[in-house]
Symmetry: C2
């Protein structure tokens, strides 16, 4: 039993607005993994908008290590389900090493693709997009789809699945570079920068027939504009509301157009990714084939070293990423 | 073929806020019903919140006769499906007589109950409450239910069905008299006057475990308070948003708590009563048995004469009614 030096990120103080570096602290611990446990060396960790509400609603305790998805390599194992050298996904990111009996691990089997894809297109954010759009959103071929935070890890997959299904897609994002990425790289029909364009007018221009499915990642003004333009029997799968997460109680800007839900019989439905666990095999099969034939692109923004994890989360909340925001914790060696 | 004098209410001008008498006009016409048609003498007409948006969104044309549910007696008929003396329901209220080939009529078979009940507990508002709560709201026994506009025609039926299903019921209304009616007559567990009490605090007091089903009739501040207190897998069937109907575009006060829909996986769903047409026989059977055993009470506010129809609609929008707002158009003679 060797003792290992481990660094981890703790919540130092619960933020009330946009998190700042001072809300986090890096703590060094010594780990001596018992022989009957599994030692995982984390290689990459995922940074997700949903981490923000957990900092203020008591889910992450002040003084405790942060939680988040990560992929690691098994360094030492007494469990034949997770042999040494295998790759595993778990929820204990924000630390360099993870010691576990294995019950919280899921084995990752790569088929030539990069490890990091299992934290986005082939992982949680991919499955979120896939299930949220096809199951919660009940997407039908050739519908009119609006996606917000469309250049993010979830939004970019939603846009591309909708295009694969023959839909017309409008997409919002927060910079002109992202507009170009969405239109030129991902094939979105109409992308716009919500910081410089009217959301309502952009939606009327991009989806003149109205919206069948609004994949909601932002909330507030986005939802206010979109809900007023929903078509009969429209669906709004609610994946996230990043515009609200830095506000007390995760309150968004006021949404005033909900009465359109009545006569147009619109359904708005919150969901979380674990609802789609039973679809994982079909999801992996579909996504791998779409990646192989070039119809599913992805982008990564990778920051280096666990000391960058707070900055990565803050950057994500400020929209600095295109595609998936990751932190590299160690070389795969 | 006799010529009959008929009075009807037209929309004179589309209102932009609360309707006023000057927005309506009464027009006298002469009718000579062809021998192959059905002449219906309207006895009572229904007055409903949903009539308000129709005045501003172009559904009711300026200069045209208003639309709305009514019950009448067949005075003259060439159609054996609707013999003279039978009672019929149709959508051509706001006039004293209705001439039709019968395709827009539904025969009413009374079983001892008053005719007017077929315009509320046994009619459209009753079926709205029944389907909205049990089908759209997927009510389960013993849940925690919040009903807004609870002393109205729909809300009062929702409260009582929820009580019949063993639920704990909180209810909002706009006067202390209605609070007493809801608690003392209808058996609501916790009623409050939203004009004098905080909606959020009242909900925490009345439903301390949170809300499983919020039957939405009001929108705006009501939804803002309720959505923040929804329990996991909660449902919000959206029947109406009367607080918004006098605003441009039927915009409500801002709702800021929708992010609670995500982690609690809440569903909000707009519906209209025609979705439940296939349930009408079961609905009538259930409601008649509940009325017979005293578990389904109802109240009517009846104004007299077609010239009162605009005042009845304005009064409804101001909350003057308890239970169903009706206008009596003629004696059943």
């Amino acid at each position: 039993m060797t003792t290992i030096t481990n660094r981890e990120i703790h919540l130092a103080q619960a933020p009330t607005g946009m998190p700042e570096p001072a809300h986090f602290s890096m703590v060094e611990t010594q780990i001596t993994p018992p022989a009957d446990q599994i030692l995982v060396k984390n290689l990459y960790m995922s940074v997700d908008p949903a981490m923000r509400p957990a900092l203020s609603n008591g889910q992450t305790k002040v003084g405790a290590v942060m939680q988040g998805g990560a992929i690691g390599r098994v360094e030492q194992s007494a469990n034949p389900d997770f042999p040494e050298g295998s790759y595993v996904i778990h929820r204990c990111g924000f630390r360099e090493f993870h010691v576990t009996d294995g019950r919280d691990l899921r084995l990752v089997k790569t088929e030539g693709e990069s490890l990091t894809t299992h934290l986005h297109v082939l992982g949680g954010t991919g499955l979120t997009a896939y299930g949220g759009l096809l199951v919660t959103g009940e997407l039908k071929d050739n519908e009119n789809v609006f996606v917000s935070a469309a250049a993010g890890a979830v939004g970019s997959v939603v846009c591309q699945i909708a295009k694969i299904k023959g839909c017309r897609v409008a997409a919002s994002c927060g910079s002109d570079e992202k507009v170009a990425y969405l239109q030129d790289q991902l094939g979105v029909d109409y992308a716009f920068n919500y910081k410089t364009q009217s959301i309502s007018k952009s939606l009327r221009a991009g989806l003149p027939e109205g919206i069948d499915v609004y994949f909601e990642n932002v909330g507030g003004a986005h939802l206010d504009a979109a809900c007023g333009q929903m078509r009969p029997l429209g669906r709004i799968p609610v994946c996230g509301m990043i515009s609200a997460y830095n506000n007390k109680g995760a309150r968004s800007e006021g949404v005033t157009t909900l009465s359109n839900m009545i006569y147009n019989r619109v359904t708005m439905k919150g969901f979380v990714v674990y609802e789609f666990d039973h679809l994982r095999e079909q999801f992996l099969s579909d996504m791998r084939s779409w990646i192989a034939d070039g119809r599913m692109q992805y982008s990564e923004t990778i920051m280096d070293g666990i000391e960058q994890a707070p900055a990565a989360l803050i950057g994500l909340l400020q929209g600095q990423n295109t595609g998936k925001m990751l932190v590299k914790l160690a070389d795969d060696a």
